[in-house]
Each structure stands twice: as structure tokens, then as C-alpha cells.
Amino acid sequence: MADKHHLFTITQWLLKAATIFCAFLSVVLGLAFIAVVLALGALLVAPSLLPIFSIPLSVEGVPLVTILAAALFLVAGGLIGTVLVLFAVRATHGIVDTAIAGDPFVGDNAERLKRIGWLLLGVMVVQFLSTTMVVAIAPDNNIAGHIEGGDGISLTGLLAVLLIFVLSRIFRHGSEMRADLEGTV
């Protein structure tokens, strides 16, 4: 029993660290998103201003608007993905808290697991869409050099999501059995 608690306590600390990291990353990506939107807006509305600030209209032959559009999708994808992971981490935190309290077989945890499944599926879809968009915007240049179109959807990822949904059903069944046992004398 003590070993189990060690595992839960370590997990709790890791989840706390993950929460702080994800929150920090969300803020950074949020600021980056605002910056990219402002830059793209300025470029589209008043391109004549760029030479005044000695900003080139292209970098290594790639138009600035292409770079910014690709960056917009990358940052937006990263931001949405990070926020989804943050929610998944919080839900996992909730499950671990009930485990430490000694009663993890509650209906809430089945709901939490289902939510985690949907969130992780969301992360994969968002990553897939954003990388696909980046490759579509800039197919033949350095921006997409490190990005594979359709990154995100993997067999192991899908398997993990499926497993989480199955576990959620099992948890619901377990919590019903637990509730039944509560009324047994």
C-alpha cells in the first residue's frame, strides 16, 4: 500500500510540474500568436511601412507573408494543443487525487478518463491540421523542412486513445459495482 502511495505522490508532483509548464507554454504561445497576428495584419494592411523599418519582404527567397502564415498555423496549433494537454493533465490530477484519497472507483473518474480520451484525440487532430496547413502553405522551402505533412496522427496515439476510452467504460462499470457494494451489509 505504501508503494502505491509513493507512485501516486510522485505522479502528483509530475502532474503539478506539467501543469505549471503547460500554463507557462500557453502564455508564451499566446503572446507569440498575438505577435504573429499583428505582424501579418501590418504586412497585409501597410506593406509600404516595411522598408522604413528595414524589414525585408522575403527571407532566403521565401516571401514574408508565407513565413508569417505558416507561423500562424504552427503557433495556433501549438497553443490549442497545449491548452488541451493542460486540461488533460488537470483531469489526470483529479484521478490521482481520488486514488490518494483511497476511493478511485467513482463515476467522476470515468467521466475524467473519457474527457482525457477526447482531449488527446483533439491534440492529435490539431497537430495534424496545423502541420498539414504549414506544408500546404509552404511546400517547397525551409519552413516545412522539419515538418512532415500530417504529423500528429499515429497508430500508437490512436491505440492509446482507444485504450483510454475502454478504461473509461471499465471505470464506469467498476464504480457501479462499488456503489452496489456500498449498499451491501
Binding site: 452496489d180 456500498e182 449498499g183 451491501t184 451489509v185
Partner: protein
Amino acid sequence: MEIIVKLDDMLYARRMTLTELAEKVDITLANLSILKTGKAKAIRFSTLAAICAALECQPGDVLGFGEPTE
């Protein structure tokens, strides 16, 4: 129609209190109260056997099937 618990009647017949029964069958008073008030969802055979032994009766004396009185 449902299972009704007639623990009250048996306790009265044996001139025994719920607390005394709880001590005899080694079940918490809270659990025995749940059983007595008909709020229990299920009863273990071991619990039933212990109650029957303490009250010197048959399961049918403690449990019945019919319309709830209240």
C-alpha cells in the same frame, strides 16, 4: 412487491436491542441500521447466518417478500 426486512419484529420477540445484536454478530450498528430500515441493497449470506445464529431463527423470520408497510 419487494424484499422486506422484519428485523424489528424479531428483535422485539427476542427482547433484544439493535446495539446488543450488533455486538453479537460483530456488524457495525450503522450497517445494521441500514439493514433494519430497508435501505440495504444486498445482504451477505455470512451476515444473514450471523443474525440468524444470534436471534435463533430462520432467514424467513428476518426477511419477507411483500408490499412495504410504510
